[in-house]
Symmetry: C2
Subunit: 378 residues, 2 copies
């Protein structure tokens, strides 16, 4: 039984129950346009990451703006996107075991499905699953370009896996997955550029050896919201997998551009609306949004446009607001928090409360979008 | 549309999909018995906190073992418990605003409902909501006993609120809510004892003044898994609100008993079962459980009984296992992780996969319990 949404379409902003995940539709739509214009203007494909939004509603809007499909991390996310009308999904991740690969192969009867491998056992398992379901799976070989997470070493080791893919009669070698996760959140543009330049050396080296082996890469995929301009500028990557750009969280706002200013390519479009449940003393209020409403892995939520007010000491269902007594809101007041990290915050909620005119007197609920892949872990 | 469970009843342990939230039924049942025996043996009531488990299935088992009811933090949690057959629920928290209080008052038609207040506005709002629905709400006045979160100051300020409750013809003054959250996780018994002794001074002082005002406290509620023996020993508190004891997480295992040994009153009964998706190098494996499968607010998950293996560097859907190559599992292997903090970890999952004989060769799925109040935020 799904939980009821914390608002109804047509309600005014002040009628939304708290806590709620609020999407500023105006800012969100501008973010869609900004990224679409950038990628189209620079001749790279955009395959946004659905691990951020977990919503076919948002996926289809990205595709309507020119995205070629979606990335996901989980088979269950792919299932929900395909059921929601997305026809091209890349699992930008390794998938281990026959049970999960069978589900993926079944899905390939309805949509174009790609998946990453970094080991010969993965090639074998994917080959067998595709054969069992009489489908072809597209395969990207993931190379470790510096994140030290998954991925085979660049160069010869990657070529050996690509050759095994190419030999399989149920797999199609599609190219390389070359994503550098830790580079996304390096604060200075110099650090990010250096990391992606080093990644580029690995990509170029691997592509050259693949070419010598007679294999060409239709896709070099990677990049996130923190580095997509660098990968694009390299001329190596041709498919951008950014996800957070649609929402823009507090952590990405701590990145710096070349001029030292905060990263501002996109607008904050996602908020946790919290309500004040207690103001026991003049300089402290307690809101109804804690760990179960906003993730803290990349820093605490930040009060939006509330100078002198700090959110701190979250517990499971509480957050503490402190500041000058004049800045601290009162019992019954409501406050917008910018999540520290959008992806795991979205995953805590069941509904996007989509608000038109959020920062205006006419703010109202225009739509409710289910976060259909919330909790899709397998 | 609820997500399908990652297992089926009757399957063997090895057939559970990953990641999954696994409940060791044997350890869980022993934890139920241990706490029931302690509280009954010491003449205090047990009202376990459902913010930990979010499940009527578990609530009803606690009540069958003698618990007087349940605590929750949210109105929506109360709604789900009452719908699941729980007849006595305390919202151990302030509830602000007519909309939420109306829902609570409606619920009081079906169950005994108590709620906390720490402000005269809360008394007024609760009075009005109860009147609108022709019910009586039980009220605990929350005092700040050192946690510096919600709660009115002990002493006269609390008495003024209690008097307002007593004057209301739709509210019943039930006593004090005196929970010290930060004390739960102080590592040494001396620190915890000192914090709860100081809290006891506030409780005693407030009770005396209430008595002078002609008000008696049927309930002095509080305590958690980290301190329940101290509150019980004080002779002041008479209703214990521990929640985590049913599961016992890695953070509580870092508390120390009087003899310096780790806190071991309860057994680890809750695990995240993770699968290895990649082992790119001999001393590093990557599992499919990251921030969206295990909360990190109280420390990272800990591999269970795997000497020399460390879980680190979680990202949204990945965790990294490092250690001696012999200790590091292989692609396709599975590993049990003890969550750092059980409450927000449970809230990431839709199902308890209840396993009988977990650490035996006969481990199998005996039941699947929905985490019915997962995501119940409002």
């Amino acid at each position: 039984m799904p939980l009821p949404p914390p608002a109804q379409v047509g309600q005014s902003f002040s009628e939304i129950d708290t806590p709620a995940l609020v999407l500023d539709l105006d800012a969100f739509e501008r973010n869609l346009v900004t990224m679409a214009a950038y990628t189209q203007g620079h001749g790279v494909r955009l395959r946004p990451h659905a691990k951020t939004h977990k919503s076919p509603e948002i996926a289809l809007r990205q595709i309507a703006h020119g995205a070629v499909g979606q990335c996901v991390q989980k088979v269950s996310e792919a299932e929900i996107l395909v059921a929601g009308g997305v026809h091209d999904v890349l699992v930008s991740n390794e998938v281990a075991g026959a049970a999960k690969l069978d589900r993926l192969a079944q899905l390939a009867r309805q949509a174009r499905i790609s998946v990453c491998v970094d080991h010969l056992d993965g090639v074998r398992e994917a080959t067998e699953a595709a054969a069992r379901h009489d489908v072809v799976l597209d395969i990207l070989v993931e190379i470790d370009v510096g994140g030290r997470r998954c991925g085979v070493a660049p160069g010869e080791a990657a070529v050996r896996i690509a050759e095994a893919v190419a030999r399989s009669n149920t797999l199609r070698f599609g190219g390389l997955q070359a994503y550098h996760g830790t580079a996304q959140h390096m604060r200075s543009i110099d650090e990010r550029s250096e990391a992606i330049e080093r990644a580029g050396v690995s990509v170029r080296n691997t592509v050259e050896r693949l070419t010598q082996a007679g294999l060409s890469c239709a896709t070099i995929g990677g990049a996130g919201t923190g580095t997509y301009e660098i990968e694009t500028g390299s001329g190596l990557w041709n498919e951008i997998q950014a996800g957070s750009y649609v929402f823009m969280d507090a952590d990405y706002a701590r990145n710096r551009q070349a001029n030292g200013e905060p990263f501002r390519n996109f607008e904050h479009a996602l908020f946790v609306l919290a309500g004040v449940m207690s103001k026991p003393v003049p300089d402290r209020a307690v809101v109804d949004a804690g760990h179960k409403a906003a993730a803290i892995d990349s820093g605490l939520p930040v009060p939006f446009r509330r100078e002198g007010l700090v959110y701190s000491k979250p517990s499971d269902e509480h957050g503490v607001l402190t500041g000058d007594p004049i800045a601290v809101p009162h019992r019954g007041d409501r406050i917008l928090l910018v999540p520290g990290h959008c992806d795991p915050t979205v995953n805590l909620h069941d509904w996007y409360v989509c608000v038109r005119g959020l920062h205006t007197a006419d703010a109202h609920v225009e739509a409710l979008w289910p976060i259909a892949a919330r909790g899709a872990l397998t």
